[in-house]
Structure formats: C-alpha cells, structure tokens
Symmetry: C2
Subunit: 320 residues, 2 copies
Amino acid sequence: MDLNIVQAAEQLLYADDILLLAHRSPDGDTIGSCFALYYALRGIKKRVRIECADPFPRRYGYFTEGVFFSEFEPRFIVAVDVADRRLLGEKDACYPNIDLCIDHHLSNTGYAARRLLDPSQAATAQLCFSLLSEMRLPITPQIADCLFTGLTTDTGGFRFSNVTAQTHRIAAELMALGCDAAGINRQMFECKSRSRIQVERLAMESLEYAFDGRCALLCISQKMRESSGACEEDLEGVAGLPRQIEGVWVGITCREREEGYRISLRADEHIDASAVCRLLDGGGHKQAAGCTLQGDFAAVRAKLLDTLAPFIRAAQDQPS
Amino acid sequence: MDLNIVQAAEQLLYADDILLLAHRSPDGDTIGSCFALYYALRGIKKRVRIECADPFPRRYGYFTEGVFFSEFEPRFIVAVDVADRRLLGEKDACYPNIDLCIDHHLSNTGYAARRLLDPSQAATAQLCFSLLSEMRLPITPQIADCLFTGLTTDTGGFRFSNVTAQTHRIAAELMALGCDAAGINRQMFECKSRSRIQVERLAMESLEYAFDGRCALLCISQKMRESSGACEEDLEGVAGLPRQIEGVWVGITCREREEGYRISLRADEHIDASAVCRLLDGGGHKQAAGCTLQGDFAAVRAKLLDTLAPFIRAAQDQPS
C-alpha cells in the first residue's frame, strides 16, 4: 500500500522499537537517511537501531561513529532507500516482513507492507527532510549533516539531472540549520586517497570505446586493485568516469570481485540504464543502474555489449 | 568609491552606451555575469556590448552564440568579475578609465572609479542576480542560464566552501525561472573531450609530492598538449586535480605556455593561496589563486617550492 508523507509520518510517530535497514554496499543516501531518522526518533525517546549487511564506510564517520545501538526485538521495520529486498543482502533472510519502505527509486519492487515512494525526489534524504518536517521533529545540525550527505551524494554534488529547485531549497535550509556543507562536499568529492589516484590511472589505461564512441568501457581488475592498494571505498564514484567523455551515451565500469563482475552503467538521456540492467537481472535509475555478471572479462564484456546493442540502435534511429 | 547594490543599480539604470568588460582567459563567472547584464540591459533598450581580450570558449556557446554587438563609443564602462585591471589583458590599454567594477574578489585592487565589491558572494553572478532584482529587470530563462553558469562554475558545481545558503536559494530561484541546470552542469563538469582524458592521463604521470605530501604538483607541458591534441579549453578544471589528493594542503598545476608557465594553486584552509601568489606577482582567492612564471620547469618548480615553504612551515606549527 502506498502512503503519502502525512500517513508515513503518522506510522513512524506511533511506532516504537524501530529497526531501520540500509541497503548493502551502503551509500551516502541510505546511511544518511537512516541516521537522520535515527537521531530524530531517538530525540523523542524511541528505541531505534540501524542494520546493514555491510559495514558503514569510514568516510561517513562524522555521523556514524560513536553511536551505540541497543539490542531489542524490533516491532516496526523500515527499509530506507532500498529499491529491492535483495539489496538488503544477508539481512534479507533475517527480516521477511518489512513494515514500511521509504524510497525514491522508480524501480522499487513494492516488497514492503506499506511504502512511501516518490521517484521525483532526487534522494531519499530529500523525502526524509519532508518527513521530519511533517513529524515536527527538530532538525539538529547533526541531522542536517546526515540529510545533506544523502542529498549531495545522490545528486553528484548537485550536478545531476535529478536536482530540482526544491533540492536547492532544502540544501539552503540544511545550511541555515547548521550543516557543514563545505566539509561534507570536500569529504565526499574532493578527497581521493593516493591508492585511488593510482587505481584510477591504471583503470583509465583499460578504457575502450564501442559503438562508434557512444559507449566507453572501463575495467578495474583485482590485479589493479592489489597493485594500487585500493580498497572498495577507494573506488567510490569511479563509475562516473567513462560517462563523462564527450559523445559517450553510456559509460560502463566493470569491477572484478570474488563473486563476479560488479557492473555500473551511467547513461545520458539516450539510454535507459535501468532497462539495460533489468535484462541482466539488475536494476536502478534510468541514468544510473547496475548488475552483477559471472564469467571471465571477455565473456562479461561480450554479454554487456550484446545486451546494449539494441538500445544503442534504437537511440540512433531516433530523430535528434 | 564603494557602492552598495542600490547605488550600483541606479548607476546602471541611468547609464547608456554601456561597455561590459570580461577578464582575459574568460571563465563562466565573468562571461555569465556579462551576458546576464547584457541581455537584461538590452531588454530595456540600452546600447550594450561586451569585450574580452580572449575569445569566448565554445562551451559557453549556449548563451554567447548568435549575439551581434553593435559598434558605438562607450559612455559607461563596467568591468565584471575583474579583480585587477591587468586581467583585462590587451583591453587594459584601450580603456584607461573604468566607471564601475562589479566583483567578488577579496584581492580587488580598486582600479575603477566606483565599485560594487562583495567578497562574501560565491560568484559575481550571485551579485548580478541581486543587482537585476534591485533594478527590477525580468530574469528570462536565458538570463537565468547565464547567472546559473557563473554560480555553478565559480563554486565547482556547488561544492566549494564559498557556497552559502543564499547560493542555494538563488540556484533554486534560477531553476524556478527556467534555467537548464542539468544541461549546464553536464556541459561544465561532465563532459571531457577524448583529448582531455588523454592529457589528464599524461599529466597524472608527472604527479609529484613535496613537503611530506602536503603539496602535490602537476605539470602539463607543451609536449603533452601536442601529443594529446588538447587545446586550452580542454584543460579547464585540471587545476583542481592535485588538490583532491588525501593529505594535500596545496595542489599546484603548472601549464607550459609560450609566455612562460601559468601556475594555478588550489589550497585548503591551511594555506592562503592568494598570499603565496601575491609574492609571485599574481593573485586570486584564498583557496584558488594563480600567477605566471618565466624560466624552465626546474627553475619554476624551485621558485614555487621556495615561496611555499614558509607557508607550509607556519601551518605545521599551528596547533591542529
């Protein structure tokens, strides 16, 4: 059942012993939104904790560190920024019944009993800002930091096409409420480890073009990661690189992992990345989507290009 | 004489046959602000034209192309986003008397008869937005595009520490007025030519560290530019790269040109880039400044590091 902001706010205000679930490989929006809700609901003396299949990356330490979650049997389970319950990772099996889902992904599969879904919002954090305002809970500087983190990370620092006037208005309000916008942006976008610099250089050497330059493809092998000393966190945002090249409609980044290749697609308006990835058992947004593929790189590459080909052809046939 | 917004607005409303001057090597803020004023003043039937020592880069074509400037003897000359009259380049000698300067650079030398200077503004475009509002001139979608361009380029896409709540509020207003924020951001930040990708790769190979990693230094030689086919425009924003590396206080980019090395400094709060560059006969903002140095690269490099050394030592001696 779909709820509006008022109904979702009521649900959260009535609930107690609340478990907030972030998606696996957590990003700024899922963690930022969870912690904003956590601090706000703790502020009105509710028992709350957050769970995630993967550890919180160090870079979000300014709001995740020093928090101690109490143990309790959850009575109200909320998935935050989770489009598909499989994205809960190993938490999926632990919590078969999700009471509420708060999300902004168009591809949301409707797995929860109730959901607050608004794909027009640039970030789930934007939705959480409205939710906290509706609940009349104070937005402390710390909560403003959490929400700003979600907002800025899901919009590539206010650069992507999902940004609306409303996004900037909320950013202005969060700054007025005392969030450390410059510090957060610097931490998120302007801080690359030496390992990241090194792995990026190696990866750029693997750069190749397909479909007359409409597609650019990058591969980050285990070997590159090992020689550069880059960890998973060092690779954040690397998926945006091939898409930035002039004339490229879709940028593909393949990251070799133990379980196979983790594929990220970033597309412009010519290609629906989410539709491409759905064919490969993945999902996401129209302009940013992903999937996981097994096999060696040559096979993965061939499968990707085969799947992509009809989309490229269809876009080429469109009058521009 | 320093003017406030009301006084500057009056001056512009009374003036006619207005010449707007952009600084040499024009960036989004100087051109965006000039064209915003141009379109707005043309809208009330004033004669206006823009001059600049260098051609307008192609990337700003969405508001510069198709404009025809009429010839006339200027009766009111306005320098826009020009901190020092030397930055007028070859236009400096043509116009010894500047009637009004509209600027946000703290280092503004006060060369004009009157100036509207507000260093708290993230961009001169932010000041021009207030000026147009004060003059009650309509902000068309085209003017909004010009102002948004200045705003987003001078704030690194709303990421830098010069961004205030007011900056986001103006961005929201400009979006509501119909500017193509996503298209502009994409054009400014998400579009690299293949030559740029190539020259960036070559430049990153020259990356070196100094002062225990507090300084990162990058050199882009003529040879790199030639082998990659990169033009001046392809290098825009490249100065931000070394500063992004973890632990780096100041990133230096040296671009070899016919007249010598064009040096760009990008610093965090530890170093005053503007103070360093002033010692080298340059200038700018605290966190982004520049100068030009003659000599071969070894000499330029030595001079830079010698000048920087006391600043690094002073910062190291500060309690953190």
